[in-house]
Amino acid sequence: MEFNVVISGVGGQGILTAEHLLAQTALRKGYKVRAGEIHGLAQRFGSVVAFVRFGETVYGGSVPDGMGDIILGFEPVETMRYINFVKDGGVAVVNTKKIPPVQVSMGLYEYPSWEEIKSWLDERNIKLIGIPAEDLALKAGSALAVNTVMVGAAIKLGLLPFEPEDIKDTIKEIFPAKLHDLNFKAFDLGYKAEPEIV
């Protein structure tokens, strides 16, 4: 059994932390783990993608095209930008907060509508679960907790072999103590979130 998770969004949204949260949990649960990411200039509010792969056997750090079980999209357009990594019939957990790129503000491009996004996902039979992750993160106490909200929503799906307590143990392991409660709360809000767009 192998699990392939794609995480994408805008640099600065905490994508690498979400990657770390899942990878460290997988490690503690005894799986072999590979997690891949790109650093440097790419992080500066540009498009970012990371991968987490774990199982009995693992190979490289990147999920091959069409083999991702699930994508955690921290932003709608950034979800679609990496949809090639997701398998037919996979799941897209998407933060519904749109962050228009400067090119959209400049009037050079249109931001796609939800109808378009839904139809693109339907064409490959990918299930959409839209979560207001930023609102929930703010409710938990900080916009920076979007990543933990998203992880909460992903665990709820039951596609990854982790229980809520597993993630919370990792939160204790990798976050400084003063951020534990905030992230527990963010996780729970994500876990209990009712999808607003499906």
């Binding site: 650093h39 500066r44 509010f45 190979y59 750090g61 091959p64 095209d65 069409g66 490959r124």
Partner: protein, 655 residues
């Protein structure tokens, strides 16, 4: 970025380590005494974690001003009998090459490892040169790790090999090794490291070796060739080269491509049909091992799989010719020579090579993806909210009134080349802005030349170019974007920071004072957050031959991070929808990612979460429609008042 915490675990422990962290752990396990670098993606984290733990393990770690200096620092440690490591990105070796090529002749004493991290697909680089070719060029052994665990083992082995052979040894991870996190089993730390013992060497003078005069170099060259043959003998038994499987399909695979190959043959279900020769030492190649493998396929064919250049493939082809082995060699006729390797690329190559089909329909995914991609707005990386560079670019462009040539440089500020700022006409290499600018000034005279360079890049290779510009009287304005840190690669300190790699206070080297001492005709310092001040000094700068304008304000990403830790806040700016006319100057001329445009209401909108409080948008707004939201709910429209200027000064002295 999420930091993993520590590489200081217990022996045998499994840690989730990035390739670069695994290399750092290997450096400590090998008891190296000195580690130096000039940071560069994808190599930067090696020294970031080493400098963090350096005081606890007695390691001397330094951020040098460029890769050549870093190389020399590590070389001297080796010549003092210590183990040393120098790390850099692949193109960093171009800077260090002068000393690297000499040292390849002169040899080492203590083990010395040169880590150069290649960047196939150019995720953060200007080219994807394959540094295995450098190793061949210099006749230096190179190790090519397939994953973080092997990177750790190879690092330790490289020191040992260096000492056995007396040569530099190169370790060449690629981006996907350096930046992949994996479960890594760590080894033991030497007693010196456990007890934080700082090792000191001893320099025994030996002019025949250390003073590379021509007559001596002539005697050294044959020794270089002897060393590489000795290394080849040793590498025949290295644990990184092995054969596996006994199928009829022969494949030789090097470095990271091995893990992709394993996944590909698993997906294709041909595990039983394949024989693999895995190569971890692409140069010098263990020729006996390779010949032994090739002989099994006489009368048939063998495929060589490697990322980028046909380094192994060409050596294999020479061997086939020299030894008269009757086997067809394939490689780059099936495997792409450009961009990074992926599992998919190997699946597709094997489908073609073996005439079979995989069950994922890549073509259908591609077709769908192409259709979707065409409709997606691009999101290139952009300068952060409140990035001090944004104001400086805005002011440079405004001051030049369409009559400027902007020679640019390498750092976050390379993004000034993109929309909407578009204030960079050339980017070539580190420090090239000033040299290019000097040439521009002597090659045309219809436009003023503005060379734009960051603080770290200025110290890297800008200094000697500034001397040249002054010496050769090149009419130009050099604008130093001084954010007091090497921002792009993860905020490493540099001479403009006032801190060393291990965060000890050191001298702050003031770029303005340096420019004055070097004879620039006009030197001024401006606060990057004060656009009128920037415009004033840029206008004055145009009147002099060589002008240097230092635009100073710390990196906003770092400043807000420090403020968050301290529990401090910063002002938030908002658009007054009554006053906003929808002219979009804030977006089209300034372009902060915190600002978007509400088409229905025809007004600009500032995202409060993303506003990091610089006031730049308020300063460029022609209708004074942007105000500072005061804690009591009031609005402050005079964003250039004394209070704000004092705040910026305070931020400026934060580091």
């Amino acid at each position: 970025m999420a930091r993993i915490g520590t590489i200081l675990g217990e022996p045998g422990e499994r840690l989730l380590l990035m390739g670069n962290e695994a290399i750092a752990r290997g450096v400590l396990e090998a008891d190296a005494a000195v580690a130096s670098t000039y940071p560069g993606t994808p190599s930067s984290e090696i020294l970031m974690v080493l400098s963090e733990v350096a005081p606890k393990v007695g390691l001397y770690a330094e951020y040098s001003t460029n890769e050549k200096v870093a190389f020399e620092v590590a070389l001297a440690a080796s010549w003092n009998g210590l183990r040393s490591v120098v790390t850099m990105k692949h193109v960093g070796l171009n800077v260090a090459a002068d000393s690297f090529m000499s040292a390849a002749y002169q040899g080492t004493k203590g083990g010395m490892v040169v880590v150069t991290a290649d960047d196939p697909s150019m995720w953060s680089s200007q080219n994807e040169q394959d540094n295995r070719m450098y190793a061949m060029f210099a006749n230096v052994p190179v190790l090519d790790p397939m994953d973080p665990q092997e990177a750790l083992e190879m690092t330790k082995y490289a020191f040992q090999l260096s000492e056995e052979v007396g040569s530099l040894v190169m370790l060449r991870p690629t981006t996907r090794v350096s930046h992949t996190r994996a479960d890594v089993k760590i080894g033991d730390l030497p007693e010196n490291k456990k007890n934080a013992v700082r090792l000191w060497g001893h320099f025994e003078k030996n002019p025949e070796k250390y003073v590379v005069l021509p007559a001596r170099a002539r005697k050294m060259h044959p020794k270089v060739l002897e060393r590489i043959e000795k290394a080849r003998e040793i590498l025949e038994n290295a644990p990184f080269n092995w054969e596996e499987g006994s199928g009829e399909i022969g494949i030789i695979v090097s470095g990271i491509s091995y893990v992709y190959l394993k996944e590909a043959i698993h997906k294709l279900g041909i595990e039983d049909r394949v024989s693999i020769l895995k190569i971890g030492t692409p140069f010098p190649l263990p020729l006996k091992k390779v010949e032994n493998f090739l002989r099994k396929f006489e009368g048939g064919k063998v495929l060589v799989i490697e990322e980028l250049e046909p380094v192994v493939e060409n050596q294999v082809k020479v061997l086939v010719y020299d030894k008269g082995i009757n086997v067809e060699i394939h490689g780059k006729d099936y495997i792409p020579r450009i961009y990074e390797m992926t599992t998919r690329r190997i699946i597709e190559a094997l489908e073609k090579y073996l005439g079979m089909k995989h069950d994922v329909d890549f073509a259908a995914i591609d077709e769908h993806f192409k259709k979707v991609s065409e409709k997606l707005p691009p999101r290139p990386p952009t300068l952060c909210p409140a990035c001090p560079h944004r104001n400086t670019f805005y002011a440079i462009k405004k001051n030049a009134k369409g009559k400027g040539i902007y020679t640019g440089d390498i750092g976050c500020y390379s993004l000034g080349a993109l929309k909407p700022l578009e204030t960079m006409d050339t980017i070539v290499a580190m420090g090239a802005s000033i040299g290019l600018g000097t040439g521009m000034a002597h090659a045309q005279k219809d436009k003023r030349v503005y060379a734009i360079i960051g603080d770290s890049t200025f110290f890297h290779t800008g200094l000697s170019a500034l001397a040249n510009a002054v010496y050769n009287k090149a009419p130009m304005t050099i604008v130093v974007l001084d954010n007091r840190i090497t921002a792009m690669t993860g905020h490493q300190p540099d001479p403009s920071t006032g801190l060393t790699a291990t965060m000890e206070p050191t001298k702050f080297l003031d770029i303005a004072e340096i420019a004055k001492a070097m004879g620039a005709d006009y030197v001024a310092v401006a606060d990057s957050y004060d656009i009128p001040e920037l415009l004033k000094v840029l206008e004055e700068a145009d009147k002099h031959t060589v002008s240097v304008v230092v635009s100073r304000q710390p990196c906003s990403l770092l400043r807000t991070r420090i403020q968050r830790k301290k529990g401090e806040s910063w002002p938030i700016y908002q658009v007054d929808p009554e006053k906003c006319t929808g002219c979009k100057v804030c977006i089209n001329a300034h372009g902060c990612p915190a600002i978007s445009f509400d088409k229905e209401k025809n007004v600009a909108v500032i995202d409060e979460v993303m506003c990091w409080g610089c006031s730049g948008c308020a300063q460029v707004c022609p209708f004074d429609a942007i105000y500072e939201k005061l804690p009591d709910g009031g609005r402050k429209y005079d964003v250039l008042d004394e209070e704000n200027k004092r705040r910026w000064q305070q931020w400026n002295s934060m580091l």
